[in-house]
Amino acid sequence: MNRKILAGILAIGLVALAVGWGTYSQFSDTETSVTTFSAGSLDLTINDQNGVPVTFNWSNLRPGNQPHYSLTLKNIGTITGYLDISSIVVVSEENGLTEPEIEAGDNSNDTGELDDVLNIRLWLDYDHNGWWSQGDKLIWGGLVRDLPSSFTDINEEIPANGGVDFVVELYDWWQHGGVDNQAQTDTLQITFTFLLSQNP
């Protein structure tokens, strides 16, 4: 009985070996392909600052001043993006009332009047000279108080490694007569948030 079982196991072993051997000796062919998917990137910088607010300050402004500043907006990503201004926030502060302000009729101590007398012009400065000129792309011009809270239809195309200059200019502060005095010591803070997105 034991002998038969042993013989049986031995037979199975031999068959298994034969099958194994047979598999190795069959024809076969192998081909391999390497597959790589990489996502692109979109990353906007302002004056080469990334993720850090860029701030400009002017003090002691007076009628006739025409301050302006340029922001260089760059796409340091790998794909083309489209630029919009997703948010504009204007904060106008009174900072107390001077005697000339009161004489000019300012009797509100809560909000300033600088936004009522100052005009603002926003444009894309294609010739990079910092001034409004023919061929530049005007985004908006008018009194600060009328400034929209966003511009989502600019859709300025900025290719990878490309950039555009955005200029903010304050102008036309001389035609308001005695009302201009209402803006004395007032503060105006304007915050622009730019958005670079993959679709126009």
């Binding site: 069959q26 024809f27 076969s28 062919d29 192998t30 081909e31 391999t32 392909s33 390497v34 597959t35 790589t36 998917f37 990489s38 996502a39 692109g40 990137s41 979109l42 990353d43 910088t45 990334n50 993720g51 990503g77 790998t78 794909i79 993959q198 679709n199």
Partner: protein, 185 residues
Amino acid sequence: MISKKILASLIVIGLVGLAVGWGTRSQFSDTEKSVTLFTAGSLNLKVGESDPTSWNIVLNDLLPGCNGSVSVTINNTGTINGNLSIFFSDPVDEENGLTEPEIALGDDETSGELAENLYLKITIDGTIVYEGYASGVLSGGISNYPLNAGVSKTFTVEYSIDESVGNIIQSDTVGFTITFLLTQA
């Protein structure tokens, strides 16, 4: 007496044998030769235009909301029928550094996020080899798919990224190796 008869019989048989032999020589005759060659069949798998294959998928600058497909012809150019197996190996999942928008989302360097956001549908002539996110591709594959001699099939990789994925996948890379194995049927 008996011995003599046997001897005589043998002689007679011998003469008849000789006569038959002689007769054969003078009959009409024809000879045909058959040469028998044993040649082994061949089993050769061709993926794409060159053999061995140079077909690789390299897709850059993928975006949320993108989709597309890449196809290649798989051909048994041998002379015998085969069974095709396809399997996936050597996964790649890389962050490739962090862009500022990724950092703003709290992303870190440990591994990329494209693998769990790149949706794949991999088919051969409509039969699904794998369907799901790239992160699970190693679980995919197919075996014993008949590929007879001279037959071609189309292997297709469809991909898509949902629009809602956003910045977290920026500059990330995902990859894997596809092995095609043809064995005799």
